[in-house]
């Protein structure tokens, strides 16, 4: 029994599609971003209400219960997650979306009338499964359930090739026969391919892969729209596929990497060698008082915040230290690397949460020429984004990534928990330079000690 005339159904789906376009448009500018997101949510609401009013549906109580369960699980998690854990949550939500698309395709196989519909089903199954499993691995990496470094084993390219050939063969067989067991096999092969695709990706490349898998899920949703003959799914999925592709390329460009290099760089070997062993070279460690003297008698200080600062919840203390130094007439800025944190723009979100004044946040291009005239660069919980190896060592996994040029400053102070390498798993030669000193400890504690010592000067 449908309550809505098909014309109204089409018009309401059109309205929802327009909402999604406006949402993406709004999200690409800071002023309109929040409104854009709400318009997108409104579009989704319109679409869900429309499907209930227009399609002939059985099992409605069950469906409503499932929606309640899904919301009851996701909303509190989304509301309570720490800002530092945002990237892995985005990966998780992307994965379940891909999983849902694959399941929808699997169930539609029985209704497929012709080979073309089965082609779209096979595509959705495979891409949805890759996105689900791949996102699962990125989640595990970011949550540090497994190593964040690239995982490569001998024969990986061969295994990958075998899985892909088997998947293509199974896909062709499903298109020809419409066999459900073969479709389930295809699903399993897709899951394996997703895992194998993401395992060799490590460190700072992980967020870019999340963006790529996001685009994949979009394409899977678009293909499922073709299967169901639903224009809204086609439009929404295609939009996400296209915008996700652009975004992936923009993120890769911001790090001086190519998408192919990120996915397959590890296969070539060598480039992922990054050291796990901690070097025995001597470093200069100093006390909070030493650091305070260095800062308190400087004219210009640049603070370089990293993920370590955010994890320690030290943003407020960093802001206070900046104020204390400014009160002494010292010029203080925060230098923000585009991929500081775990994702592009992540550090801006984290510092904004701590109410660090927007005017003090300088982007990389703006601040880099200023390091030369800076007395002290204070690196708090960052490592990879200041590692000169990105410019000098062509074998390094971060080679080519634009960095903050703190090495140019007269003095460099690292606040670090330990000598453990950063997210990319490589050593930072800057730590052993003569102008560098290290203050070991939790970022927040160290900052508080330095702050106390500055006030006592």
């Amino acid at each position: 029994m449908s309550l809505l005339d098909p014309v109204w159904t089409s018009l309401l789906y059109l309205a929802a599609a327009v909402c999604f376009i406006l949402a993406l448009r709004g999200l690409s500018s800071p002023r309109t971003a929040r409104r854009g997101n709400l318009v997108g949510a409104l579009g989704a609401l319109i679409a869900v209400v429309t499907v209930f009013l227009s399609a002939r549906l059985e099992n409605i109580p069950w469906i409503l219960a499932a929606i309640v369960v899904g919301s009851a699980v996701a909303a509190p998690v989304a509301r309570r997650v720490k800002m530092t854990q945002m990237p892995q949550l985005v990966a998780l939500f992307n994965g379940v979306g891909g999983g849902a698309a694959a399941l929808v395709a699997l169930l539609e196989l029985g209704h497929a009338e012709n080979a073309w519909v089965r082609v779209a089903i096979v595509f959705t199954l495979l891409v949805g499964a890759v996105s689900f499993a791949g996102s699962g691995v990125t989640f595990a990496k970011l949550q540090e359930l497994m190593t964040t470094r690239p995982v490569v084993f001998p024969g990986l390219p061969v295994v990958m090739a075998v899985v892909l050939v088997a998947a293509v063969a199974a896909g062709v067989a499903v298109v020809l026969s419409g066999s459900l067991p073969l479709a389930v096999l295809l699903l399993v092969l897709g899951l394996a391919a997703g895992i194998l695709l993401v395992l060799p990706v490590g460190g700072a490349d992980v967020p870019i892969v999340i963006s790529l898998l996001n685009a994949f899920t979009g394409l899977a949703v678009a293909a499922s729209g073709l299967v169901l003959g639903n224009v809204l799914l086609v439009v929404a999925g295609t939009l996400v596929g296209a915008s996700g592709t652009i975004l992936t390329r923009a993120m890769a460009a911001a790090m001086g990497r190519s998408v192919a290099g990120i996915l397959f760089g590890a296969f070539r070997g060598g480039s992922t060698a990054g050291s796990t062993a901690v070097s025995q070279r001597p470093v200069r460690s100093s006390s909070a008082e030493d650091v305070a003297v260095l800062l308190g008698y400087a004219q210009r200080v640049i603070i370089v915040p990293g993920y370590g600062l955010a994890v320690a919840q030290g943003q407020h203390t960093a802001a206070e230290l900046a104020q204390a130094l400014e009160a002494r007439g010292i010029e203080v800025d925060f230098a923000i690397h585009p991929v500081a944190g775990r994702m592009p723009g992540h550090m801006n979100v984290l510092l904004a949460e701590a109410n660090v004044p927007y005017e003090s946040l300088k982007e990389m291009g703006e601040i880099n020429p200023e390091f030369k005239t800076t007395d002290v660069a204070l690196v708090v919980g960052a490592n990879d984004v200041v590692n000169p190896a990105a410019k000098t060592s062509s074998g390094s996994p971060i080679y080519g990534m634009p960095i903050l040029e703190v090495a140019e400053a007269r003095q460099v102070v690292f606040l670090k928990r330990s000598m453990r390498p950063g997210f990319a798993g490589i050593e930072n030669d800057l730590l052993y330079e003569p102008q560098t000193s290290l203050l070991f400890g939790d970022a927040k504690d160290s900052l508080a000690q330095v702050l106390g010592a500055v006030k006592a000067l």
Partner: protein, 106 residues
């Protein structure tokens, strides 16, 4: 709807998608990724249709699982994006005392 019409819509949507996010600043990469993520949660509509046509209990079970997953993607995606963007908003309003406020901003 016939094949050519769907193809037309698909191709146009590709162009719209490219155009809409072609010049986004790196500051907004994360929220935009998360927002696009929320939008593909609209697979919920497909999951509802499949669940609504299910006669076999097994089919219904799998379809309901798809509904749960899609809802998590959709609802969680929009909520998390809103929270991130709220942070961006807050920094304009809550200028800390002691910092020299500059007029305008970006």
């Amino acid at each position: 709807m016939d094949g050519t019409a769907l193809l037309t819509i698909t191709v146009l949507a590709v162009f719209v998608g490219f155009e809409v996010v072609s010049k986004v600043s790196s500051t907004l990469h994360t929220p935009l990724m998360s927002g696009a993520n929320a939008i593909h949660g609209i697979i919920l509509v497909g999951a509802i249709i499949v669940a609504g046509q299910a006669a076999d209990p097994w089919v219904l079970t799998v379809a309901l699982l798809a509904v749960v997953l899609a809802t998590a993607n959709l609802v969680g995606g929009f909520v998390v994006t809103d929270r991130m963007l709220h942070m961006f908003h807050a920094k304009k309003d809550v200028a800390r005392t002691g910092a020299q406020p500059k007029a305008g901003g970006r």
